[in-house]
Symmetry: C2
Subunit: 385 residues, 2 copies
C-alpha cells in the first residue's frame, strides 16, 4: 500500500424524508442561494420540499445550470452571490448542479481576472462559500468529494479542479428524489459511478485488499442494483438506495487510498464532451473498452482479478480478461448506451484534434497510471469509431 | 437500508515516516499533553520520533495509561491539563491510550461532581479539548471514531461513551510502529477488529449490499492479513499496513450505516473485563461463539451469508452455519486465544453476577439487535465455561 492522506468531513444525511432536516445543518441567519438545473425538481416536488424546509431562512433561487455546467452560466450566479451577500449555497440536483455550485463557491471570492483559471491553470482556491447539497441523480460522487468539472463554452474546454474548501458541509441523499429520473439518466449515473471505480481499481496492484474488496463490492452492487434500477417499471426504494449509496462511495476518496489511479478514460471523455457535447457517461462508456484493450498486457494482474471477483469468470487468463472487457461493454449496452463513436456521428477527424490537444498541453501521459500516451489516445479512439 | 447519518471528519495520515508530519496538523503555539501507556513507545523509538516532531512545540508527557484505561488514572491527567492550560492532547498508543485520552479531553471541562458520569450516566459532552493520535496497536478503531470505553476500578464498572467532540482531529497510522508488538497483542487486535465487524454485520438483513460487501471484505482481509501478521517471524510492511487499515475501517461508522448492529458480545465482554481483568479481545473471543449459537436460528440469513462469503463454505444451510461458527472460533484459537472461561480460572459463579448486573440496570435487551436478554446472557456464559 502506498502512503496516503484521507480526509472527508462531508456529513451524509441519508434516507426518505431527510430534506426536512436541511435547516439543522445551515447556520442561522444565512443568506442562501439555492441552485438547480433545468427544472425537473420543480415537477417532481423536490424544490417544493426544499422551499418548505427553508421557510425560516432567506434564500434566492438560481436555476438553469446545464449538464456539463458552463463557466458562462455560473458567472451569472457569482454576480448574484456578490450583489446579495450570499453566504451559503445549496445545490439541488445531480453532479452538474453540484459541480457548478462548487465553482460558484470558489469563484465568488476569486481575485484574478478570469475565474476559469481555477480550472484551466489549477490556481489554488484560497477560500470558498460553504455549501450543502440535495442529491437527485446518483452518478458523479460530487456530493461527497472535493472535485468539480466545469466547461468553458467559448473555448470548448472542460477541466476539473480540486479543493478541500469546496467539499459540501452536508449532503442529503433521499433515494425517493430519484424516482422521476428518466431511464437514460439512471443508465448514465450507473455507468459514471462504475467507471469511477474502475479508474481507481483497474490499474496496477499495490497489495491493498481493503481497497480492492471495497471497489469490487461497489462494482458488483452497481451491476446488480444499477441494472434493476434501470429495468424496474416502478421505482423500488431499496434498489434506488443501494444505487445511490454505491455511487457516492465510488468517488469519495476511500477506494483510492494508497493505490494507483488512472483517470485517462475521464480525460479523453472530457474532450469528446467539450468538442461534441456528448453526455459525460456516454463518453466514458465509449472510451473505457478502448483503454482496457490498450493496456490489456500491462494491467494483466488487476484485469484478471476484475474478471474473477466482479464477473465470476473462470478459465485461462487471456480468455478471462477478454471476457471481462466484453462483459463490461455489454453491461453498458444493456443499459441502453451505445459504445461506438459513429453512433453519435463522430468520425475519425476528431482523433487528430484530441491528440493535438494533449500534445499541445504537454501531457506526456494521460491519466496517472503512466501507461496512456497521446499516441495511445489515437489508437484507443480509432478502435472506437 | 435504514435511514442514517454519517459524519467522520478524522484526517488519516497513513504510511511509513508520517509521524514527522504531526506539526502540520497541530495549531501553532499549542500547549500539548502527550499521553501514552506502559512505556513500550520508549523502547521502540516511537516516543523519540514524536518528541522530535514536536521540537518546536511546548509539550508535557503523561505516561502510564493502563489497558482498560482507569478513570482514577485519567483524572490525574485531567489535573495536569487544568494546571498547565493544556489545549491539545496527543495520544500515542493503542485503543486504551486513545480512549483514555478522549476521556481526558471530555473530563477536563466537565462541570459535574464526578466525571465518570459521562460514561455511567451518559451525560452529554458539551465541549472537549481537541486531540490527535499516533496509533501503535491496530485494534479498537478508536483512532477514527467518536467512541471511548473507560473503566472505574473503585466500582468495577466499564462503560462506553460517545461524542463527535472527541473524534481525533487527525490520526497518524504508520505500520512500522507496530513492528515491536508482542504476538498476543497482534492476536488481540485482529480479534477485536474482527468482532467489531461481526457486531455490525451478523445481525438481520437490511438489503444493504455496499455495507455487507465492505464488512465481508474487512473480515476476509483480517483473516488473511491478521493471520500473517501473527505468524510472520519478521514484520512485513504490507501485511501490517493491511491489518492496520482493516482495523480502522472496522469501526469508523461506515459499515454500520443503515444496518442493524448488535454489540451484545461487547457488553457481556465488558463485564468479564470489569470483574476479572481479562483482555478485552479475549472476552470477545470467549463470548462471541456463545452469542452466535444462541441466535443461530433467528439470524440464519446473515449467518449463512457469512458462511458463504467470508469462509467459502458450500453445502446445506444448517451445516454451513455450524461450520462458519466453528471456523470463527478456530480462527481465534489459531491466534493463540483460548475461548473458554475455565482457562482463565473463571467458574460459573460469575454468571449470576453478570446476569444480575444487567437486570439491575434494567437492560431488557443486551445489544441493539433485540434478541439477547439477560436470560440469554446466562445461557451464553454457561456454554462457555
Amino acid at each position: 500500500m502506498n502512503n496516503f492522506d484521507f480526509y472527508n468531513p462531508v456529513k451524509i444525511i441519508f434516507g426518505k424524508g431527510k430534506i426536512a432536516d436541511i435547516p439543522k445543518h445551515i447556520p442561522n441567519n444565512s443568506k442562501i442561494l439555492v441552485t438547480y438545473g433545468g427544472g425537473s425538481i420543480k415537477k417532481n416536488g423536490v424544490l417544493k420540499q426544499v422551499q418548505e424546509s427553508l421557510k425560516e431562512h432567506t434564500f434566492i433561487e438560481f436555476g438553469g445550470i446545464e449538464p456539463n455546467p458552463a463557466y458562462e452560466t455560473l458567472m451569472q450566479a457569482v454576480e448574484i452571490v456578490k450583489n446579495n451577500n450570499i453566504d451559503f449555497l445549496l445545490a439541488v440536483g445531480g453532479g452538474s448542479v453540484i459541480d457548478g455550485t462548487k465553482f460558484i463557491a470558489a469563484a465568488a471570492n476569486y481575485e484574478g481576472e478570469c475565474a476559469y483559471e481555477i480550472c484551466s491553470k489549477g490556481i489554488p482556491v484560497n477560500n470558498a462559500i460553504p455549501l450543502g447539497t440535495v442529491l437527485t441523480l446518483p452518478a458523479t460522487g460530487s456530493e461527497m468529494n472535493a472535485n468539480s468539472v466545469v466547461t468553458r463554452k467559448e473555448t470548448k474546454e472542460k477541466f476539473a479542479f480540486y479543493s478541500p474548501l469546496i467539499m459540501p458541509k452536508f449532503s442529503i441523499l433521499d433515494p425517493e428524489t430519484t424516482y422521476s429520473l428518466p431511464k437514460h439518466q439512471i443508465a448514465n449515473g450507473v455507468v459514471d459511478a462504475f467507471i469511477h471505480v474502475l479508474e481507481q481499481y483497474l490499474t496496477y496492484p499495490t497489495n491493498s485488499p481493503i481497497q480492492d474488496n471495497f471497489a469490487e463490492g461497489i462494482l458488483r452492487t452497481l451491476i446488480s442494483e444499477g441494472t434493476k434500477a434501470y429495468n424496474n417499471e416502478k421505482p423500488n426504494y431499496e434498489t434506488r438506495a443501494n444505487y445511490m449509496w454505491a455511487a457516492t462511495m465510488a468517488l469519495n476518496g476511500l477506494i483510492s487510498c494508497g493505490v494507483i489511479t488512472d483517470w485517462s478514460t475521464h480525460k479523453i471523455g472530457h474532450e469528446l464532451t467539450a468538442l461534441h457535447g456528448l453526455d459525460h457517461a456516454v463518453t466514458l462508456a465509449i472510451v473505457l473498452p478502448g483503454v482496457l484493450n490498450e493496456v490489456k498486457d500491462l494491467r494483466k494482474v488487476k484485469l484478471l482479478q476484475y474478471a474473477r471477483n466482479v464477473w465470476n469468470i473462470e478459465g485461462n487468463e487471456e480468455d478471462s480478461i477478454n471476457k471481462a472487457i466484453e462483459k463490461t461493454e455489454k453491461f453498458f449496452g444493456d443499459l441502453g448506451i451505445n459504445t461506438y463513436l459513429n453512433h453519435y456521428s463522430i468520425d475519425e477527424s476528431t482523433i487528430d484534434t484530441i491528440y493535438n490537444r494533449f500534445v499541445e498541453r504537454g501531457d506526456k501521459y494521460i491519466g496517472l497510471a503512466g501507461d496512456i500516451t497521446p499516441e495511445s489516445v489515437s489508437k484507443i479512439l480509432s478502435s472506437r469509431l
